[in-house]
Amino acid sequence: MRTSLRLIPSFYRGIQNVTNTCAVERCMRDAPVARLTHSRLFAHKVQEKEIPLEDKKLDDLIQKAEASPPPAIEPIDIDKPRFPGSRSEWTEKLEFLMPEAYPGIPVYRVMDRKGLIRDAAQEPKLDEPTLVKMYQKMTLLNYMDRILYESQRQGRISFYMTHFGEEGILIGSAAGLDDKDLAYVQYREAGVLMWRGFTLDQFMNQCYGNEEDLGKGKQMPVHYGSKELAFVTVSSPLATQMPQAVGSAYAYKRAQNGQIVICYFGDGAASEGDAHAAFNFSATLDCPIIFFCRNNGYAISTPTSQQFRGDGIASRGPGYGIPTIRVDGNDTLAIYNVTKAARDISLQQNRPVLIEAMTYRIGHHSTSDDSSAYRSVDEVKHWDKEDNPIARFRRYITQKGYWNDEKETQWKDQAKKQVMQAFQRAEHKKKPSPEELFNDVYDELPWHLQKQRKEMMDFVRSNPEHYPLKEHAKMGAA
């Protein structure tokens, strides 16, 4: 009671000082006296209606209402809006925020299209072995893509997605991280895994869904995953990985393990509700995460002009309270720099960071797509020829004296051979044994799955001629 009474004078002062009616209403709402009166009125009403209410209860009610501490009200000397959650000034201009009035968010770059450094201060001082490794991983990814794409055309694997045009984004960002940072990806990010040491055999085994696939033949091609390499298994439903990545980042923060989480996603996936949830959770829960958007201009056939009307994905960052940067996705050095800097911010400040890498999807969406149905072949050719991350990076390392035509020829032969050999090895391996389909639904097989597994195996054993048993490891092996 005392405290509330003591506050009353300042409450009146507040009213005297304030001319704005909203503020008056707010003071009224907060005022203990007003509340007390209200609770008495309420109690009175209850009695009027002749609802039996013991006196003791009524007293409790009043006491509780009186005891609730009133919020501290500062004197309103400075004429500033005080609405919760905003940092505004008053304005008397009736003016809408027109998105068109703002200049586009700039695109950070280190190199120009010729591979020349624009500002020497921005050149990351990467040593020769690192730069050569980056180039080799970018090109190896490219060779692997070509072989697996063709192999799908020939019906050897069921599906494939290439990374053409996005090699720099993947290798540049992977190199800017710590290899143990947890990566959540969409599906077009095999380069990250390749950087961390996933072998060609491992990629091929997954695409074939053979018995050596780490995913045990459960998923479609390109749904890679490796616990050892901190790369969470790909899931086809878009954007689902985004709030999950935030949860992992929160857990990492509490564990103080010195790692962050990176979450890759496309310009299309960013339209999903999960994307909003992820951005908002990460900011409000102070999570050490990098959101890495690969803005490649398309979501299957849908151009970004039909996906959003704001300034790309980057313009959303500030709205969520997330530090944000836009970067040239075909400039591998720039990608490296922003990822490294984003990692520092997110680890040191426990904050999310949003990177929007601008690029172009040179390949078809997947082997199920023919992009000539919705974009011109010339448009694609332009990007492939004029603004290719591999070509640009090669120019850079050539200028540095780390690479030349002779090395290129040698490496090309070697890389192609490696890819072809791994491919053939994977093709000759058996698919998992049939009953593998029942494993990993739960940690252990519940009774009903045990029963179904037996039913399946018994049936297949007595009707072997109807099943492709030769392609699979021996039944009963899993």
Binding site: G209, G217, I390, K431
Partner: protein, 363 residues
């Protein structure tokens, strides 16, 4: 770095489907009733396209929207419709299924006709809240002041031979558990066109699952005009005396083959019933058949536990208890996610179904 395409086909993957489909079942074209008028040879995606063409030409408020529908959709079902009806009637949405469903409900609540596409049934779950809590309950919760009856959600569903977890699912049971929705699944082009037009014109929100394996592999002479096939009515495809065999969608083709094999190998006569509408389902047709045969097999690709076959089985055992000569058989997908490399062992194929017919007849 562009890989040259050896093949022209827009959806090469579906060629593999056709190859695969031929081992799993044989699609036998049906003949449309004469009264439906002149026909054109169309596959399933073309007949769906034809239904939407009719819908847009007969209803000026009707619009079509979804991911990638403007250029024809990833399965080509909306091809040429934007050219024909304009960008304000056939258009791409941002990539957001909950948005598509919610937007469609709003279009319907405002009195227009909404035809929404969800690119794969596997991706309908972000829209689940809008469909289950909103579309399905719009009429009930408003005392019939508002409804979303002119919403139809189309979505490709089911196994294709290599779709694995997220391009193969049959989620009909989730929706069949929702009062207020109608759930419809066609088996072929002629029927699909009539059923889709019924859904679009029905006064209740409908979920229409299209068996994507049939998009190209199922070809029939489809009536070019406007016709409907009634919802809530089963279709008795083959008369029989010994075992009633119930299914819908792709599985119907498996079951028709099973009926042939049962006749040939076991001398058992199967009555094959296509439910067509899963909710509300035609219990009368099924029960009348079971009263006659005394034996029932229900089969679907979706997992066994809580699949729609469970509902049919429990209803029939109550209604036809004294007529049953054998325990009702369900042959379904196993209770696992849909596997990639092991798909052949997952599916309720004709051999497993035939085995169930054998058990039923020998009981």
């Amino acid at each position: 770095m562009i890989v040259k395409r050896g093949l022209r086909s827009v959806l090469y993957a579906l060629r593999t489907d056709a190859r695969y489909a031929s081992t799993r079942f044989t699609f036998v074209p049906e003949v449309a009733p004469d009264e439906y008028g002149p026909t054109t040879k169309l596959n399933l995606f073309q007949s769906i396209n034809s239904a939407m063409d009719v819908a847009l030409s007969t209803d000026k408020t009707a619009i079509i929207f979804g991911e990638d529908v403007a250029f024809g959709g990833v399965f080509r079902a909306t091809i040429n419709l934007q050219e024909k009806y304009g960008k304000d009637r056939v258009f791409n949405t941002p990539l957001c299924e909950q948005g598509i469903a919610g937007f469609g409900i709003g279009v319907a609540a405002a009195g227009s006709t909404a035809i929404a596409e969800i690119q794969f049934a596997d991706y309908i779950f972000p829209a689940f809240d809008q469909l289950v809590n909103e579309a399905a309950k719009y009429r009930y919760r408003s005392g019939d002041q508002f409804d979303s009856g002119s919403l139809t959600v189309r979505s490709p569903y089911g196994a294709v031979g290599h779709g694995a977890l997220y391009h193969s699912q049959s989620p009909e049971a989730y929706f069949a558990h929702t009062a207020g929705l109608k759930v419809v699944i066609p088996r072929g082009p002629i029927q699909a066109k009539g059923l889709l037009l019924s859904c679009i014109r029905d006064k209740n929100p409908c979920v229409f699952f299209e068996p994507k394996i049939l998009y190209r592999s199922a070809v029939e002479n489809v009536p070019s005009g406007d016709y409907t096939v009634p919802l809530g009515k089963a279709d008795i495809l083959r008369k029989g005396t010994d075992v009633t065999v119930v299914g819908y969608g792709t599985q119907i083709h498996v079951l028709k083959e099973v009926a042939d094999m049962a006749q040939e190998k076991l001398g058992v006569s199967c009555e094959v019933i296509d439910l067509q509408t899963i909710l509300p389902w035609d219990a009368q047709a099924v029960c009348e058949s079971v009263v006659k045969t005394g034996r029932l097999l229900v089969s679907h690709e979706a997992p066994l536990t809580n699949g729609f076959a469970s509902e049919i089985a429990s209803y029939v055992q109550k209604e036809c208890f004294l007529n049953l000569e054998a325990p009702i058989e369900r042959v379904c997908g196993w209770d696992t996610p849909f596997p990639h490399s092991m798909e052949a062992f997952y599916l309720p194929d004709k051999w497993r179904c035939l085995d169930a017919v054998k058990r039923l007849s020998k009981y």
